[in-house]
């Protein structure tokens, strides 16, 4: 009887040790995860304000302060690269992926093996969007501004364009 119970106790001890290791692993990362969540929330607000400024003013601000965006954490940075593009970086303390371990269980049983990955936010995009998954360290996006062009080549004939800002038409060869 005693030997049978000892065998079960050893098995339970192994699972218990695994649980403790997992708990420690989670607790160690909790502080960094909290700071990253605060960073993400602040960065998300900045992204909304920046996109709104871009839409309202049809141009990029020279800095976040120029767009009246205050209380910017040190982990968020904005750099205007040209009149039509800028770089937006958010620095995180830990990696966060969109892998859902519990839903992966049902995926395995249904054969839908997904391969989620942390989104690569270093690629160029036309709209600033902050993904919830991120790498540890700086996550930068280079955004090409989506400001509307000041000239319109579609509403005129195929040989000339119309400049909205000056109310003048010009030869289409400039844009081709």
């Amino acid at each position: 009887m005693r030997s049978t119970l000892v065998r079960y106790k050893i098995g339970l001890l192994v699972i218990g040790l695994f649980t403790i290791i997992l708990l420690v692993l989670v607790l160690v990362q909790a502080h960094a995860a909290k700071q990253d969540n605060e960073t993400y929330r602040a960065a998300n607000e900045i992204v909304t304000k920046l996109n709104n400024y871009n839409l309202d003013h049809d141009k990029l601000p020279s800095s976040l302060a120029a767009a009246h965006i205050t209380n910017v954490p040190a982990s968020v940075s904005y750099q205007k690269l040209s009149e039509g593009s800028y770089k937006f970086c958010v620095t995180y303390k830990a990696t966060s992926s969109d892998f859902d371990a519990t839903s992966a269980l049902s995926d395995v049983a249904s054969g839908h093996y997904s391969s989620p990955s942390v989104s690569d936010s270093t690629e160029d995009s036309y709209y600033l969007y902050l993904p919830s998954s991120h790498h540890k360290g700086a996550n930068c996006q280079t955004v090409k501004s989506f400001t509307t062009p000041s000239y319109d080549c579609s509403s005129y004939d195929s040989y000339s364009c119309y400049d909205n800002s000056t109310d003048q038409s010009f030869d289409n060869s400039f844009t081709q």
């Binding site: 119970l5 966060s96 995926d107």
Partner: protein
């Protein structure tokens, strides 16, 4: 055990009503002989009810001093059976946590957002399961008849069935993933699919193997 028939209880064997005190029982509708059928009555007249239409069936009288036989209408678990149900719930909780954690680690995900929920499942499930498992195992070793407790057997058999279904569909999912890969419908690596399936099979298959062996070792 509450589930075992009480000496004074009547257990219906065919789903019918148990006999009560001696009384005249009319035959069931649809089974009465044609020669005893009531003559047709006009619709405005009330139909006679509860009148014997054939010879009454005699049921032996209870002896004096005996109370009418109670009829079990609610199936309850035995006290130990409730503990088995608690143990299985905590086992399922811990098993989901363990499998989710293994799946995350196999996929190289060690971050807080991924591991927090599996850790919560394990921290809750493992101590409760360990306590109840050891307690019930001690009781079983002291009293081997407890293994035949209907509540316990129903719970462990349900666990076997569920873990069998999970294991079976994991194998189905793995084969489907391999076929989808061969057919170019999926870009997931077969090695990763096998590892993922192994995580589920180790836990669900382990539970199935333990309870299968426990029930068949006599």
């Amino acid at each position: 055990m509450d589930e075992q028939p009480h000496p004074h209880h009547h257990q219906p064997t065919d789903g019918g009503m148990p006999p009560g005190p001696a009384q005249s029982v009319p035959p069931a509708y649809g089974h009465e002989p044609a020669q005893h059928a009531q003559p047709w009555a006009p619709p405005h007249e009330p139909m006679p009810v509860a009148q014997p239409m054939s010879a009454p069936i005699e049921i032996p009288q209870l002896q004096s001093g005996q109370s009418p036989r109670p009829v079990p209408v609610v199936q309850v678990l035995s006290p130990v059976g409730v503990e088995y149900v608690f143990m299985i719930i905590s086992l399922v909780t811990a098993a989901i946590g363990l499998t989710a954690a293994l799946l995350a680690m196999v996929n190289g995900k060690f971050d807080f957002t991924v591991l927090a929920f599996p850790a919560a499942l394990l921290v809750t499930g493992v101590p409760v399961f360990a306590f109840l498992f050891l307690r019930l195992k001690k009781l079983e070793l002291r009293n081997p008849a407890l293994k035949l407790d209907p509540s316990k057997r129903r719970t462990t058999q349900a666990t076997q069935i569920i873990s069998f279904i999970v294991s079976m569909f994991t194998v189905v999912g793995l084969i489907f993933a391999i076929l989808a890969k061969l057919g170019g419908q999926s870009d997931v690596s077969i090695g990763k699919a096998i590892l993922d399936a192994l995580c589920v099979l180790v836990v669900a298959g382990g539970i199935l193997a333990y309870y299968w062996h426990d029930e068949h070792k006599g």
